[in-house]
């Protein structure tokens, strides 16, 4: 059985290994350079106590490689498209399920070995990518929030890969044709990832809110935080966001002159206006990784269960 699976999927494996190798070489080379630059920078800036100023400029010339790393976002999806979706759909489309499911092993056993191997491969694929990117991001993480690249490092890429392959298998069991299965897997995967990333993830744990004096310097929260929102809060707890009408400003704080007006920050502060920032602190990074990974693994299990049910209880 295992040999059969190897024979059927060896092309995909060769492609996967090839793509990962290219990515690794790219990341290893640029990552080593980045780590070196970072250590040089640290040594210099601690000497001159200028670390906070230089950090923003440190990797500013590496735009395209940063884009590439952000692009590794799609790597788990590729696995679902090219291994998950065709797993059943290709058998149905080419009629080979008739051959496979009339051999001396039951459909359940056939499914078990195919699904287990697909998941093992997905875990390896996701873990390899996550390990590479996590390592590459170490210097970057030190000067930027880890949350900024939440999706491509840590353990979630593994969960995304497993989810993608499970989704592909489940979709293939419904559509029974390769192209519709691939297209649907793509659509559903992107929709679920975006929905969770945008609407659910900020609320896994109640964010921390901090009131800061309006007159002080603009703050982005503690280093490494993920800012959920930031803006002005009025004296009665009304949140104005980043801009508000002049009519909301107490009369005393308005100075009008021909052609415009301005608002005095210190006057506003005296009238009870604050800067309110809501954020997830850096220390919650692994909690969030754990919650998100668990969510995707649970969905993957449900999808695999569904695929088994389709294959075992319905006509082939």
């Amino acid at each position: 059985m295992h040999q059969l699976i190897w024979r059927l999927h060896r092309t995909q494996v060769y492609f996967a290994v090839g793509a990962l190798s290219v990515l690794s070489i790219l990341l290893l080379v640029t990552g080593a350079t980045m780590a070196h630059d970072y250590h040089v920078f640290l040594a210099n800036c601690t000497a001159t106590r200028s670390c906070s100023e230089g950090a923003a400029r440190l990797f500013s010339g590496d735009g395209s490689i940063m884009d590439l790393v952000n692009f590794t976002l799609v790597i788990p999806l590729l696995f679902g498209l090219f291994w998950g979706a065709p797993l059943l759909a290709k058998e149905f489309e080419e009629g080979t399920h008739n051959l496979a499911w009339t051999q001396g092993v039951t459909r359940r056993r056939w499914m078990e070995s195919h699904v287990i191997w697909a998941i093992v491969a997905a875990v390896v694929w996701g873990a390899a990518m996550a390990a590479l990117v996590s390592w590459w991001r170490v210097p970057e993480n030190a000067i930027d929030s880890r949350f900024a690249a939440f999706d491509v490092q840590g353990i979630v890429p593994v969960a995304y890969s497993v989810f993608a392959v499970a989704l592909g298998i489940a979709v293939g069991s419904i559509f029974r044709r390769v192209l519709p299965a691939i297209a649907t897997t793509l659509g559903v995967f992107v929709a679920i990832r975006v929905a969770i990333g945008v609407y659910l993830r900020p609320h896994y744990v109640t964010p921390v809110s901090t009131l800061l004096p309006l007159s002080g310097p603009q703050s982005n929260g503690p280093i490494g935080s993920w800012i959920i929102s930031s803006g002005i809060e009025g004296p009665h707890g009304h949140f104005y966001g980043n801009g508000f009408d002049l009519s909301d400003v107490p009369k005393a704080c308005r100075t009008t002159f021909p052609g415009g007006g301005s608002v005095s920050n210190s006057c506003m502060a005296a009238h009870g206006f604050h800067q309110l920032i809501t954020y997830q602190p850096d220390s919650r990074f692994w909690v969030f990784q754990g919650i998100e990974a668990t969510g995707f693994i649970v969905m993957a299990i449900a999808l695999i269960g569904f695929a088994f049910w389709r294959v075992l209880s319905r006509d082939a």
Binding site: R7, T11, H97, G104, T106, R107, D315
Partner: protein, 302 residues
């Protein structure tokens, strides 16, 4: 075990399969003893594929019951090992070679006779190291047959195995099959919409038409129980009740009947003669088209 050995190769009662609102197979009651080579014939859409898929456990019936070698078709290694199945259009993994398929079979089956399968393919000069997509239709069919036979099944079911083959490949395929049957204790069912192909190798026939069973008998019995009667022109209502008229054709003076005999032909006006299997089958197919208004003929009318 001895019970199973004596059980019919196939036995179905009231078997039916419905897809949506259309019955693909209805009231199918057949019994095929072991050791027969059975032709499963009928027009396209008669339910041949549906019946075979139910018998191998790929599809579950809507009504009725099927028993294969005394067992209900189900997902057990025991059952799956006892049947060999070659689906329509010979599905194979295109990029794998025949040798890959043989090794795959060895992994997926407890009982697997790779030696005989390799010998058969070699004797037919079929390259076993090339992707099967590069083989001819006839060669692929032989690979498919080889895989089904390598399981050493007790019952081999072949769905339209020769439909897409040229006459030479067809002949070769049927010879391979005949050899395999001669070699061992094997029951075979092979379907076709053309009886002509199968008459040479089969000794039993099932006719499905309009999703129902019309005939399920040994070919010899079919031949002895049907006659062509020729006599002066008369209305078929006046034919004696022991004769089932399958088909009647009239000329100005004569009436020609193809009948199924339930007793001897007593009326001396008839001149009886034997009739070939193909004519009998065609008569049943014609009869069904003209007499019934089932879903299939409705579709035909549209």
């Amino acid at each position: 075990m001895s019970n199973l050995d004596r059980a019919p190769a196939i036995e179905t009662t009231g078997l039916g399969k419905r897809y949506g609102s259309v019955w693909a197979l209805q009231e199918c009651a057949i019994t095929v003893p072991q050791g027969r080579v059975t032709a499963l014939v009928g027009p396209n859409g008669a339910g041949k594929t549906t019946l075979l898929r139910i018998l191998v456990g790929l599809s579950a019936p809507t009504t009725g019951e099927a028993r294969v070698l005394g067992r209900a078709p189900k997902q057990s290694e025991d059952f799956l090992s006892s049947i060999g199945y070659l689906a329509q259009d010979v599905p194979l993994y295109k990029r794998l070679s025949a040798e890959d398929h043989l090794q795959m079979g060895a992994h997926l089956n407890h009982c697997w006779d790779a030696t005989a399968a390799r010998a058969r393919l070699t004797a037919l000069k079929i390259p076993t190291d090339r992707p099967v997509a590069t083989l001819s239709g006839g060669q692929r069919a032989q690979v498919g047959l080889g895989l089904a036979l390598a399981k050493r099944p007790q019952l081999l079911l072949l769905d339209e195995p020769v439909a897409a083959l040229d006459p030479l490949a067809r002949r070769e395929f049927l010879s391979s099959l005949a050899e395999a049957v001669a070699d061992g204790h094997l029951s075979v069912v092979l379907s076709s919409h053309l009886l002509h192909d199968l008459e040479r190798v089969c000794d039993h026939v099932i006719l499905l038409a309009n999703a129902r069973t019309q005939i399920c008998q040994d070919i010899d019995d079919v031949l002895t129980s049907h006659r062509v009667l020729v006599g002066p022109r008369r209305n078929i209502d006046n034919v004696e009740p022991t004769l089932d008229v399958i088909k009647a054709t009239h000329t100005a003076k004569q009436t020609r009947l193809l009948v199924h005999l339930n007793g001897p032909v007593l009326d001396p006006v008839w001149e009886a003669s034997e009739v070939g299997l193909e004519d009998i089958i065609m008569a049943y197919m014609d009869q069904d088209d003209s007499l019934s208004a089932g879903p299939l003929s409705l579709i035909g009318a549209l």
